[in-house]
Amino acid sequence: MEFIPSICPGCCINCGLYIVRDEDGIRIDYRKSSSVNEGKLCRFGVELGRYYSQEPLKATVNGKEVDFNTAKKEALKRLKKTDPRSTGFLAMGNSTNEEIRAFKKLAGELGIQNIDCGLSKQILNVPEAARNYLTAGVPLREIEQAEKILLISFNPENYPLIIRRLLRAERNGTELLKVGSGEPYEGRGAIIVSELAPTSDPASIRQIIEEADDTATILFMKPYANLNGAVRLGFYGFDLIEAIRSDEIKSLFLLDPPTGYEDMFHDLELLVVQSDHESEVTEMADITLPSPRFFERRGTVVNVEGREVEVVPQNF
């Protein structure tokens, strides 16, 4: 029975939990000392053991199993042959800061400028000087003690661990208002909570930042483990999702793909996927490269509070 402390890769809250490995396989346990979630988990976190028990990805080239180095060399060889203008590097936030940094560096070395974490469309619509608002984060205790909270085009059910903070805030007398897209609001002194996801309307994101004055605090909740880190590391610049769909992109290196985008990748001429498990996307890939499972990685992410946290605490 081995207890490995880790964080949930389901969203930017990065709830603390334990991965427990024993003769029955992998399951999760509740890490009550984790400050962001105090041991509580949503259904995704509860079922994480099943996710981690998926078939690990093997290194392959054209569907044939090879050793990792062979697959890596072949991937580099083929990526070097592509036209950088129609090649992209996509990492949608399921990777650590260290992995994203290395991924960005590799793209640079190959002369590929089309990099994206799935949020380029939204980020590029925000003036550069204001982009720090996108990943600032808010200590969750501050939500409980806020005078006013505005939920702008935000459904807390997508981020269940935020619900208890909002309930506690209400009990503490916080004025809690839901605001629909385009509706007027008074944001002075408020904590504004909204969502920044690949499907978010870029104009709404920009409007939230522009309309917030200096007294307001903005929290953009995000799906996946580390979109905060990807944005902070500047892993954006080109709307790859749109470009893949419009066939502008012919070759793609996809790092730790989330589910829900499978339909995009069918028509690519070259698809290299690095992932920790087999999936519909890895089946489409020309080359696959295995990653360690998330809880086996040594690295950091940026959580909902804007803090850099280790995937596996080193003091454990």
């Binding site: 029975m1 009550k32 000392s33 509580k40 949503c42 269940p160």
Partner: protein
């Protein structure tokens, strides 16, 4: 020997010093391994003062270096008992009650489990305990080396700098201190375990463990400790016995008073409205079921079959079935409430049902191997 009480302590000065109260528990566990009475010991591995994880070992040296119980690491160890081996485990009363309930439900043989019970005045949620050190004393929580509740005082021990002390009442008025379920738990001495150990009744100038032998398995461990010369002991005096019981009585009175306060928040004329409101927040993550030590149903559980979140009952069938299932079995350990992501006071609600049932039918879960009266024996159940 069963029913006898002693003051006992480890002969090894290092164990005696490290032990919470004289090191008897560590000495008895090591003796149990050395004498082959047990194969494994389930204990907790301390990460820091606010975090521990369960740990199984057969190595006496590892037992020796294990930590004394941690107040700010509210685990229930019953879920980690291995099947098919003789194992000793240190138990708070709620651990011991859970072990008995799990044994009834066929998870393991109770004869294989040696419960070394520890008196318990409650455990504390780790995150709010960390915050209490920072907010009540303005001190870095990393400087804390131990946490104790002694004589109504909550004490944070530190190697460097003075200990930090606040009355437990005051800490709890400020929103810190023990878990809510511990405040109204009125089972402080683990009388259902094989041994009940602690420092209640021990003269303040003596570093010893008050040990009550409660079963033949308890006798075995005590005898092993004697035989291996791991301990020294003396009979507990009448005065010490009475002192221990007085502390227990006082704790139970406080717990019962707290229960009256907590249970009194419900409007007796409209309890249903309260339950509907509280359960309306449920997101059906099923964590309360997963951590519930007395629930051993797995993927085929009725509550999961019938309790999808999208049913249109005012309380989801998931919660309704759990209420029914636990009304004669909830031991009030608080694990469900600890992990509920939407802060439903689950333990209080389940205890409201269970305590009423207890009054009506005279059955108290987790004290013996009697079957829960409302549940038909299922396959695999004794």
């Amino acid at each position: 020997m069963t029913g006898q009480s002693y003051l006992a302590w480890a002969k090894d000065p290092e164990i005696r010093k490290r032990g919470g109260s004289g090191g008897f528990v560590t000495a008895a566990l090591i003796a149990g391994l050395k004498e082959g009475i047990i194969d494994e010991v389930l204990l907790v591995r301390r990460i820091d003062q606010f975090e521990s994880v369960p740990y199984l070992t057969h190595d006496p040296e590892e037992v020796k270096s294990a930590s004394s119980p941690q107040l700010a690491a509210p685990l229930n160890l019953s879920s980690y008992i291995p099947r098919g081996v003789k194992v000793a485990v240190t138990t708070k009363p709620c651990d011991a009650r859970a072990i008995i309930e799990r044994a009834k439900r066929g998870r393991f043989e109770l004869e294989d489990v040696y419960m070394v019970g520890l008196n318990c005045g409650g455990t504390m949620p780790p995150v709010s305990t960390v915050e209490s050190v920072r907010n009540l004393f303005g001190v870095d929580p990393d400087t804390v080396t131990g946490i104790e509740i002694e004589g109504g005082e909550l004490i944070f021990k530190r190697d460097r700098g003075e200990d930090l002390t606040i009355s437990i009442d005051e800490a709890e008025k400020k929103g810190y201190g023990r878990r809510e379920s511990c405040k109204y738990c009125n089972t402080n001495i683990p009388e259902m375990a094989d041994l009940a150990c602690g420092n209640w009744g021990v003269p303040s100038d003596q570093r010893a463990t008050f040990v009550e032998i409660l079963s033949a398995k308890g006798e075995e461990l005590f005898e092993a400790a004697k035989k291996t010369s791991m301990i020294e002991f003396e009979d507990a005096t009448q005065e010490e016995l009475e002192k221990r019981l007085k502390i227990d009585r006082r704790m139970r009175e406080l717990a019962n008073r707290r229960w009256d306060e907590v249970a009194g928040v419900l409007d007796e004329r409209d309890r249903l409205a309260y339950y509907i409101n509280e359960f309306s927040r449920c997101i059906h993550c099923e964590s309360c079921k997963i951590v519930c030590p007395v629930c051993v149903c797995e993927a085929d559980a009725k509550c999961l079959d019938m309790g999808q979140g999208n049913n249109h009952y005012r309380i989801s069938l998931y919660n309704m079935i759990r209420l029914f299932h636990l009304m004669d079995s909830c031991i009030g350990c608080g694990q469900c409430e600890d992990v509920c992501p939407v802060d439903i006071p689950l333990t209080m609600i389940h205890q409201r049902f269970e305590r009423r049932m207890e009054e009506m039918i005279g059955y108290r879960p987790g004290f013996d191997l009697q079957k829960p009266p409302l549940q038909k024996p299922e396959e695999g159940m004794k």
